[in-house]
Every structure is written in structure tokens, then in C-alpha cells.
């Protein structure tokens, strides 16, 4: 019993180490790939595959987030007579928190699933070994373009989600609750700073990286058969989801401390 637990713990540790090495190698290879002309078409292809079809779902996700926030928050703010500040609440939440996180979860399902399934199938049909057998590094050829595409695209897609969230929230506020649009925008503009938007975009960058590395890792290490591929996809999604939430927390802490350090400076400068 104890031996079994110990063996499990050791196995987990080994897997964690393996994942760490894979992540490190992917990062280094991708950095090198940035300097290499031959990777550009591969990145471009991946961006096309990943990006184009994700735009509609991402925009729908964003719009619903904004609309729901408006409905939920209105009563509380109206109770205090602060309904004109509704925009502040919606837009800050969307841009800083819900936009990036929900967009990333959506992408973990959409892109992550596809990546794991594709690479997993290539793994079980020996196509990855075939890449190796021809003297090409599969991490460079398969992982780096996908990782770079995710890193570049997730922030962009998050901005789309943010935009739709802002629009959705505003529409519900104006049309359903009849809030004065000028007041709404004025309060929003004074509260939402570039800093808040940047936080969201930087978060998205990290989320994109996590989704790509986890999904590729699961694909590369997937077990044989259709069942193995399916299981790898599930594991990849769960792992991506948890890492998104964990990263979100970690980044929130980090950004807060950065803000605390620089906020006094900023108030002196301006």
C-alpha cells in the first residue's frame, strides 16, 4: 500500500520532470525558430488553422460574458443609485479577468483538443518517429510553430473577446436598462486604464503558451489506439484548464505587487 503510494509519487515526479524538460526544450526551440525563416510559413499555417475558426466562438463567448455581467450587476448598483457606474464594473471585469480567462478556456477546448488529437494520432501512427528518422527535430518542426502561433494569437483573440464583452455589456445597459450612454462611457473611460487592458493581454499570452505546451506534450506522450488519443485530449483539457486558473491567480498576485511598487512613482510623475 505504502509502496504503491510511493511508486505513484515517484512516477508523478518523473512525469513532472519530463514535462518540465519538454516545456523548456519547446521554449528554447521556439525562440530559435523565431530567427529562422523556414519556420515562418509553418507558423503562418498554424495561425490560420487556429485563428480563423476561433474568432466567431471567441466573440460569442465575449459578448455573453458582457451581457450576463450587465444583467447581474445592474440590480445591486441601481439599489445604491450607482447604475451609471455599471460600465466600470463590466468593463474592468471583462478586460482584466473574465475576457482572458474565458477566452483561454474556450481556446483550451478548441485549439488544445485539436492539437492533442493531431499530434497524438501522429504519435501512434509513428509519424513523429518518421520525422525523427529523417533527421528533423519533431519539437522544432511540430511544436515550435504551434507554440508560437498560440502565443501570438491568444492575446489577439482575447482582445476580440474583450471588445465583444464591452459591446455586449453596453448594449444590455442601454437597451434594457436605459442607462445614459454618455455617463456610462465617461465613467468607464476614467476607470479602465491601459494598465488593466495590458494585464489582460499579458495574461492571455501566458495562457496561450500553457495551452500549447500542455496540449503538445500530451499528444507526444499519448498511448496507443483511439482510446489513448481520446484520453490524451481529455487530460490535456483538464490540465490546461487548471493551469489557466493557477496562472491567473499567480499573475494577479504578481501584477498587484508590481502595481504597488510603481503606483507611487506614477502619481509623482503625472
Amino acid at each position: 500500500m505504502i509502496a504503491a503510494l510511493g511508486a505513484k509519487a515517484i512516477e508523478d515526479l518523473i512525469n513532472a520532470g519530463r514535462f518540465g524538460r519538454f516545456a523548456w526544450r519547446s521554449a528554447v526551440t521556439s525562440l530559435r525558430g523565431c530567427a529562422r525563416r523556414s519556420t515562418f510559413p509553418l507558423i503562418w499555417t498554424q495561425m490560420f488553422i487556429i485563428g480563423v475558426h476561433s474568432v466567431p466562438v471567441i466573440m460569442i463567448t465575449g459578448a455573453f460574458v458582457g451581457m450576463t455581467l450587465a444583467v447581474q450587476a445592474y440590480d445591486q448598483l441601481a439599489g445604491m443609485g450607482l447604475e451609471e457606474h455599471l460600465g466600470v464594473l463590466i468593463n474592468i471585469s471583462v478586460v482584466k479577468e473574465l475576457g482572458p480567462v474565458l477566452a483561454a478556456v474556450m481556446l483550451a477546448g478548441r485549439i488544445g483538443g485539436a492539437l492533442t488529437a493531431e499530434l497524438g494520432t501522429m504519435n501512434v501512427t509513428e509519424q513523429i518517429d518518421a520525422v525523427r528518422s529523417m533527421g528533423t527535430d519533431p519539437v522544432r518542426y511540430l511544436v515550435a510553430p504551434r507554440l508560437l502561433a498560440c502565443l501570438l494569437l491568444t492575446p489577439v483573440l482575447t482582445i476580440f473577446a474583450d471588445m465583444m464583452g464591452v459591446v455586449g455589456g453596453a448594449l444590455v445597459s442601454f437597451l434594457q436598462f436605459g442607462i445614459n450612454s454618455r455617463a456610462y462611457w465617461t465613467f468607464s473611460a476614467s476607470a479602465v486604464a491601459l494598465w488593466d487592458v495590458s494585464i489582460g493581454v499579458v495574461k492571455a499570452f501566458f495562457f496561450g503558451g500553457a495551452i500549447a505546451v500542455i496540449s503538445c506534450y500530451k499528444g507526444f506522450n499519448c498511448r496507443e489506439g483511439a482510446h489513448g488519443v481520446g484520453q490524451a485530449c481529455t487530460e490535456a483539457f483538464v490540465a490546461s484548464f487548471i493551469s489557466i486558473l493557477a496562472l491567473d491567480f499567480a499573475l494577479a498576485v504578481i501584477f498587484k505587487s508590481i502595481y504597488m511598487i510603481f503606483w507611487p512613482v506614477k502619481s509623482i510623475v503625472t
Binding site: 493531431e118 501522429m122 529523417m134 527535430d137
Partner: protein, 286 residues
């Protein structure tokens, strides 16, 4: 068949022939299962070595060690006198470009057309100046395996045998020094099999490539081999030229090359009893 004198069983490790691949005391385990058991052998440059053996005896695992797609549990692998089994993947890439490897299942990239598959190694390792030239090369390689005209097919739309041949065309795309074929003739009709045999001989004759063929097809083995090695239960049980194998005293070898069932296998069949006793028959189905 041309000269096979040097495969004489008594001096099979002839020291005048230069070994290009060498494995020493190679053992491979998957979990608890011992697949290769302390194998030592060397493949001579410019010769064709055929590896035969029953299904599941570890032939594929063995030749994967030659290009270090698998790493040994114990033992060493040498290529041109240099130890390769402990090299990093990055250093191996340069060595692997000197090999062509035909996977048992083909392992064609299914997101690419046949032509793109064959171009893949070329694009990875050659600076292409003239695309027309590349198309010519692709056409020629495909013609060699009888698939010219299938350039724009995706692998999923090819038959099993066609896929194998397309994979073969990809393996020879870079004119490698060493070719490793994993069952090149399985799943092909007899005439096509013989064309592949001729192709193997031609590549060896004209380009002087070293060839290792894994096969079950004894006709093909006799035709192309300078030397035949038989693997059984992870060990080498026979090693020599075609005549040596034909006249080998070991019953396992004789059974294999003549395609006879062993006594113990027959016993299992007899044990399984009369039809109807412990089996489902159509009349049982509602």
C-alpha cells in the same frame, strides 16, 4: 543471384568486410518484458543483410536501434565506428540523414500529399534553388516504386500496398547510404514484390548502399540477401548466407523457412476441441 560466397557460415564475421553498423550486447526491455536478449551483430558496408523471424520476436525493435529511434536498455550501438546510442537527439539528426528508414506501417504524413511527403526530407536538408528539379526528383522516385501520377493523392486515398511504396519512395528521397526496410514486400502482390526486390538490388548495385531488410517473405529474402539472420525469442539463432539457412539443422529455422506449424501449436489447436463444443455457431444466434 550474385556472389554470396563471403556469407560462408564458418567465417561470417569476416574481418575484411568493413562493418558500418554494429551492436554489442544489446538488450531491450519494455517494462518487465525482455524483447532483445544480449544481441551482438555487425552489418557490413555495401552488403544486404536480411533479418527474419516469427512475428513479435523483436525485428522491428532491433532495426529501430540502428538509427536510435529506440535506446538500448543495455549494450551499445555503433555507426561507422562511433558510438551513437548515447548521443543527444540533436547530434543524432545529422547521423540519421545518412539513413533511409521504411516503417512497417509506412508512417506517411497524412496531412500531406504523396509528393509533399517525398519532398519533406529534401526540404528539411537541402537548400532548394530550383523547384522544377525537386518535382523531377519526386517524379523519378515515384516512378521507381511504380507510383508516378499519384503525386497529389493523400495517403488516406491510397491502398495499403501503395502506401508502403510511397513510404519507400520517401525513404530513398535523399539517396541515403544505409537503407533499413521493415517488411518492404508485405501486402504487395507477387509481381510488385519482385519489383521491390529488384529495386533493392538495383539501389545496392548502383549506389552501393548498405541494406538491412526485415521480412517474412523467404522468396524475397533468398533473392536479395548476402546474409540472413534469424531472430527467435530475442536471440540470434541462425546467421549465414542463403544456403546456410536452407540447410540449417535447427528445427525452429526449418519450421520458419518452410512455413510449418510446430508440434506445440498443433497441440493447442487439437486441445481447442471439436467444433461446437465450446464455440458459438451461427445457429446459436437469434
Amino acid at each position: 543471384m550474385e556472389k554470396t560466397t563471403d556469407g560462408n557460415p564458418e567465417h561470417r564475421t569476416t574481418d575484411h568486410a568493413e562493418p558500418i553498423i554494429e551492436v554489442r550486447n544489446l538488450s531491450k526491455r519494455f517494462g518487465r518484458k525482455l524483447v532483445l536478449d544480449n544481441i551482438s551483430l555487425s552489418v557490413e558496408k555495401g552488403k544486404t543483410t536480411v533479418i527474419i523471424g516469427p512475428s513479435g520476436c523483436g525485428k522491428t525493435v532491433l532495426i529501430k536501434h540502428f538509427i536510435v529511434l529506440q535506446r538500448p536498455t543495455e549494450g551499445e550501438v555503433y555507426f561507422k565506428g562511433r558510438r551513437v546510442d548515447n548521443l543527444s537527439e540533436r547530434n543524432l539528426n545529422e547521423i540519421r540523414t545518412q539513413f533511409g528508414y521504411l516503417f512497417q506501417e509506412g508512417a506517411l504524413f497524412d496531412s500531406m500529399t504523396v509528393a509533399e511527403n517525398i519532398m519533406f526530407p529534401i526540404r528539411q536538408h537541402v537548400k532548394i534553388r530550383n523547384w522544377r528539379e525537386v518535382d523531377e526528383v519526386v517524379k523519378m522516385k515515384l516512378a521507381m516504386v511504380g507510383l508516378d501520377g499519384f503525386q497529389n493523392y493523400f495517403p488516406a486515398r491510397l491502398s495499403g500496398g501503395q502506401r508502403k511504396r510511397a513510404a519507400l519512395a520517401r525513404a530513398i528521397a535523399l539517396n541515403p547510404e544505409v537503407l533499413l526496410y521493415d517488411e518492404p514486400t508485405t501486402g504487395l502482390d507477387p509481381i510488385r514484390s519482385d519489383i521491390i526486390n529488384e529495386l533493392i538490388l538495383k539501389l545496392k548495385r548502383e549506389l552501393g548502399v548498405t541494406t538491412v531488410v526485415v521480412t517474412h517473405d523467404m522468396k524475397s529474402a533468398y533473392k536479395v540477401a548476402n546474409r540472413i539472420i534469424m531472430l527467435h525469442n530475442g536471440k540470434i539463432v541462425a546467421d549465414g548466407n542463403a544456403d546456410h539457412i536452407r540447410n540449417h539443422p535447427h528445427p525452429v529455422v526449418q519450421q520458419f523457412i518452410n512455413g510449418q506449424v510446430g508440434e506445440d501449436d498443433l497441440a493447442v489447436l487439437r486441445m481447442s476441441g471439436a467444433v461446437g463444443s465450446s464455440q458459438f455457431l451461427p445457429r446459436d444466434f437469434q
